[in-house]
Amino acid sequence: MAERLSPLARFTPVSSGDLRIAEIPFLTQINLRVDPKSRAAADIGLALGAPLPTEPGTCASADADLLWLGPDEWLVVGERGRDLEGTIRAAAGTAHAGITDVSAQRTVVAVEGPRSRDLLAHGCALDLHPRVFGPGRCAQTMLARAQVVLAARDGDAFRVFVRSSFAGYLADWLMDAAGEYLGVTPR
């Protein structure tokens, strides 16, 4: 069988002391829509190892990452190849829930290091100060001219979920903006 090809397969990861940028391809991603007050929501939380976060802009981490996207919408993210859809479907049973495999809809760019916030601030209007957008926070927002899901993790690390068709653009943009922190000399 032919190799899978990720949207940023041609992108070379970059790394300096202050900043690292790399693609994390092929994560399992399930878009989940369900009434947060329903029995199904509770059951799905149990199955995933953590209640679905109901505080806007937060992420719960258990067997998978549960990113709040909206009042009845989450992005459930797990390792490559996991059958999260099956787990969630089984937990939801016949209840009304929207469970959609979107694993290839977006790819993930990891932005890490002490200058990660400085880099993202070139294109993201959110206040990324650690007190405001620290580990465990997530948001759907714009980064440059692409819609993204942005999730903050421990240690000045971010995951940027970007739609596959925009990934090339976003990588080019990130590299242009990152030059300053990677020691690229001005043109």
Partner: protein
């Protein structure tokens, strides 16, 4: 020329060129200070009158000293850092854009803070310090390379050290705090709603980006923007050598430059006395202080003070040689000519209320200072120091500290200790300022109000004499305030002169509106990183690299790049497309259809929901089957079309046109959330989760059978408009039997990261011809399938397209239904989609050409019957053909109409819009 640099002034030499002559200045100079140091008095000719002009001010308010250099078309010599090799040319009112490309990089940053302080003078630094001590996140931005506001100009001391040193040290300490950001060389130029402020940071040619736009969202703002000294209108007030008093003081203290040898000071207030003292101490002879007030201030050593006097004339065509003064009481006129090469002017001070006014703040006239000060405002902003009329150093420090603490407190921080403002030398209480805007005269022809636009008091009086009563009208009549300096010095003066002319108080007239930007900002600076390839995102499919390698030109469809056609060696577009069409009609072709929008619609009410959204019935669709659907806006006009496939009783997959994917999802969410929240439906975009390969042509079944051995592909097992989940080329796939060409065809959907593998497997069969969007368009047009947005334009109903069959008669309602009954939408002579065959089968009609009834063209206006929406050469029809929207078109079958093209009337015959295989015989192969 002699050097005017003060003896003992240290500085690394910097060589530069101005108007073709070589000079030397020192590091830290502006171009203006370096020119003054070299004794250059005349730096420009005025734009309209050609009068010689000199340096008048020392910072962004400068009206005269405009230059161009490098790729910069227009800059102020007073703000331009002297750099080694600078080669500047003076301007006469107009800049010149350089043909040389600008190679600079520019960017932007978003920033957030609790307190933004604008201006790092005494008030601003005090405000920032007071705010920072509460723990608030603070940004302090200052437009100068050296902080301290007026402190480097005045050489006053703060806390016992020179003010500039205090400013630098205090800012450095602030910058060391983790939650304080100090931005120097950063001009805050716009103040927008909800405390959104924008600033430009000039980082220099050695920085990664030369200039950076800061987009700052501040919970509170402290404006400590200072004040501008104002000019006075008197005869000859534009001569080189006439200079604002505080600016002259700045050249002495900041740059060690003497702007003249013998000076007359013309003032309405005490501040010019301090300037005179500093100039005298530096070696400038103060010939006289001409004070408009009857009670004059204390004279510096040796200077004569003429109380109750004004300047009535300035001698010297090329620069001041003498100043004529007179008692201001005209009855007792006593003209006296004083020899001087420098005339310092101080008409008092105008607080810089630009940003405050931009914020929506009301201005109030302050009689004491004779100008406008901040009044009430809705936004969360404080004004401190000279910007609100506090003109003493101690006052500014205290005012700033209080404003900073107030701002932090309002942002939710506790003020635990009162910030102790540093000590300043005792200041004599200032005597009340006088207010004089213009020196009365019989001839106002050289009383300049706006130096850069050559506007005089006479011009203003002509405007008021023409009947104008508003300062906005006078500005437009005279052009005062419209030049590069945006009236920084002339604005309030113009209002005052209008008031003088009309006999109205300045307070009643107000000012013209203050508009962003406060300082000019480069186009490229604002465009930032959004240039070239990053101007707008390029969206690509997972097959994109293959299309690139195989030489396809791309068509922009919204942000997507879609392969247009795949030329072989020696082929032009026409040849390639005819070949691709032929391949699909006779063999098999494949197209990347991944850009189509895809929406997963789930929930027990999904069928009911789609019944309301689409014009046709979707609830009757069987699981496993596919139906074409059209959606309209409530006005009945076609909005989008696509297929709906039923995955389960409670689950559908909807496809949209490429350009409308986001709009359709938003549309569905809008109706679900705002009109039908009771419907239990969830919509999720899966556009990019799938890669879609369209396989079309009579040979497509064999190709599919070879790639999907597990799939029964015969027409009975896999009928038209059904779908199957299977494996294709070893990849999990969903295959839909749908056709946009009329041929036997399939769409194979796989996970996007498997897309290239699928495509390569398809191409690996060796029998499949790749085709692009152009071929797709031709094939669908031969079948009469409309393209939304090409054959429709927002004024076309499904019935106009001959698609009555897609409009349900059974459903009680769906979006758009009611509009079909309106008078205009039920007219019989609406434009219908029809086919056109040119009499000359080789004649390709231009898309967009119109149709008329007659073979000769009458005089305009000529009634049009409609226009050509699509037009192609058809391999299979052996003719060109077109689709057109034609008035009453369905009743014109067989009629000959004419397409006016230049001098020609090209005859065409109206036909059905379905030109190829109207029986649908080919869809099963």
């Amino acid at each position: 020329m002699t050097s005017r640099r003060m003896t003992g002034w240290q500085g690394e030499p910097v060589r530069f060129r101005f108007d073709g002559r070589d000079y030397e200045g020192v590091r830290g100079d502006t171009l203006a200070s370096a020119l003054l140091a070299n004794g250059v008095r005349t730096v420009a000719a005025s734009p309209a009158l050609g009068r010689p002009r000199g340096i008048y001010a020392a910072w962004t308010e400068e009206p005269n000293a405009l230059v161009r250099y490098g790729v910069e078309p227009m800059a102020q010599a007073t703000t331009l850092d002297l750099a080694e090799g600078l080669d500047a040319t003076s301007l006469r009112g107009r800049g010149r854009l350089s043909e040389e490309p600008d190679t600079g990089r520019y960017d932007a940053v978003y920033a957030h803070c609790d307190v933004l302080v604008v201006g790092a003078g005494p008030a601003g630094i005090a405000a920032a310090t007071a705010a920072a001590e509460t723990g608030a996140r603070v940004i302090i931005a200052d437009d100068r390379p050296i902080a301290g506001g007026s402190l480097p100009d005045t050489a006053e001391t703060v806390g016992g050290v020179p003010g500039a040193e205090w400013a630098a040290a205090t800012l450095a300490a602030l910058d060391d705090r983790p939650d304080v950001r100090v931005l120097s060389r950063t001009s805050v130029f716009g103040y927008y709603d909800d405390n959104h402020l924008v600033a430009v940071e000039r980082r220099g040619v050695d920085a990664y980006s030369r200039e950076r736009v800061w987009r700052i969202r501040a919970r509170r703002v402290v404006l400590a923007t200072g004040a501008h000294e104002r000019p006075i209108a008197f005869a000859g007030n534009d001569r080189p050598g006439v200079m604002l008093a505080a600016s002259a003081r700045a050249y002495v203290n900041r740059h060690g430059v003497l702007p003249g040898e013998r000076a007359v000071v013309f003032t309405t207030n005490d501040s010019a006395y301090a300037a005179a003292r500093d100039l005298a101490a530096a070696g400038v002879e103060i010939a006289a202080i001409v004070d408009t007030r009857e009670t004059a201030g204390p004279a510096p050593d040796g200077a004569e003070v003429l109380a109750g006097h004004v300047v009535t004339a300035v001698g010297g065509e090329e620069g001041v040689t003498s100043v004529t003064v007179s008692a201001s009481d005209r009855e007792d006129r006593d003209d006296r000519e004083i020899e001087a090469d420098l005339l310092l002017v101080s008409g008092g001070w105008n607080p810089l209320v630009h940003l405050f006014s931009q914020a929506g703040g009301e201005l109030r006239h302050d009689d004491g200072i004779g100008s406008f000060v901040p009044g009430s405002v809705r936004q969360a902003v404080e004004v401190a120091g000279a910007a609100r009329g506090v003109f003493t150093l101690a006052g500014c420090l205290e005012d700033g500290a209080a404003a900073g603490a107030r701002a932090a407190e309002a942002a939710g921080f506790r003020v635990e200790s009162v910030f102790e403002t540093p000590g300043t030398p005792a200041e004599e209480p200032a005597a009340p300022a006088g207010h004089l805007w213009l020196v009365p005269s019989a001839d106002y022809g050289t009383h300049f109000v706006d130096l850069q636009r050559d506007v005089t008091v006479a011009d203003v009086m002509k405007a008021t004499g023409a009947g104008l009563r508003s300062v906005e009208h006078v500005k437009r009549y005279t052009t005062a305030g419209t030049a590069h300096d945006q009236g920084k010095l002339s604005g309030v003066l113009t209002s005052a002169v209008v008031g003088h002319a009309l006999g109205l108080p300045l307070a009643d007239l107000g000012t013209t509106t203050f508009r962003a930007p406060y300082v000019p900002v480069g186009f490229a600076t604002l465009a930032g990183r959004d240039r070239g390839a990053l101007h707008d995102p390029v969206r690509t499919t997972s097959l994109h690299e293959w299309h690139v390698v195989y030489g396809a030109p791309f068509e922009n469809v919204g942000q997507w790049k879609r392969p247009w056609y795949y030329p072989r060696a020696g082929e032009d577009m026409e040849a390639a497309v005819l070949r691709e069409c032929h391949a699909v009609r006779t063999a098999v072709g494949a197209m990347d259809a991944s850009t189509l929008g895809k929406i997963d619609v789930q929930g027990p009410d999904a069928a009911e929901f789609l019944d309301r959204i689409y014009t046709n019935m979707m609830s009757t669709l069987k699981v496993g089957a596919i139906r074409y659907g059209v959606m309209c806006r409530p006005d009945g006009m076609v909005f989008d079309d696509g297929t709906v496939i039923r995955l389960a009783d409670d689950r559908f997959l909807v496809t949209t046109t490429t350009g409308n994917a986001a709009a359709v999802l938003d549309w569905m969410e809008e109706w679900l959330q705002t009109e039908w929240p009771q419907l239990r439906v969830y919509c999720t975009s899966v556009t990019e989760h799938w890669a879609t390969v369209a396989l079309a042509g009579p040979g497509s079944r064999d190709v599919l059978a070879g790639l999907a051995p597990g799939l029964a592909v015969d027409a009975a097992s896999f009928p038209f408009m059904t779908w199957r989940d299977t494996e294709v080329a070893g990849l999990a796939a969903r295959v839909c039997r749908i056709s946009f060409s009329g041929e036997l065809a399939y769409e194979i959907n796989v996970n996007a990261w498997d897309g290239l593998a699928l495509w390569e497997a398809v191409m690996g069969t060796g029998v499949v011809t790749p085709y692009g969007t152009e071929t797709m368009h031709v094939l669908r047009a031969e079948k009469g399938y409309p393209i939304v947005g090409q054959d429709t334009d927002g004024t076309v109903t499904p019935a106009d397209l001959g698609m009555d069959w897609v409009v349900s008669k059974k459903k009680p309602d769906f979006i758009g239904k009611r509009s079909f009954a309106r008078a205009d939408t039920s007219r019989p002579d609406r434009k219908h989609l029809v086919g056109l065959l040119p009499a000359d089968a080789g004649r390709l009609l231009p898309e967009g050409a119109h149709l008329v009834e007659t073979s000769t063209l009458p005089e305009p206006p000529v009634p049009t019957l409609g226009h050509v929406t699509s037009s192609y050469r058809s391999a299979v029809l052996d003719s060109t053909f077109a689709l057109a929207l034609v008035s009453g078109g369905r009743d014109r079958m067989g009629e000959v109409l004419y397409v006016p093209l230049g001098d020609e009337q090209v005859p065409v015959t109206v036909t059905s819009h379905i030109l190829y295989d109207p029986e649908g015989a080919r869809r099963d192969g």
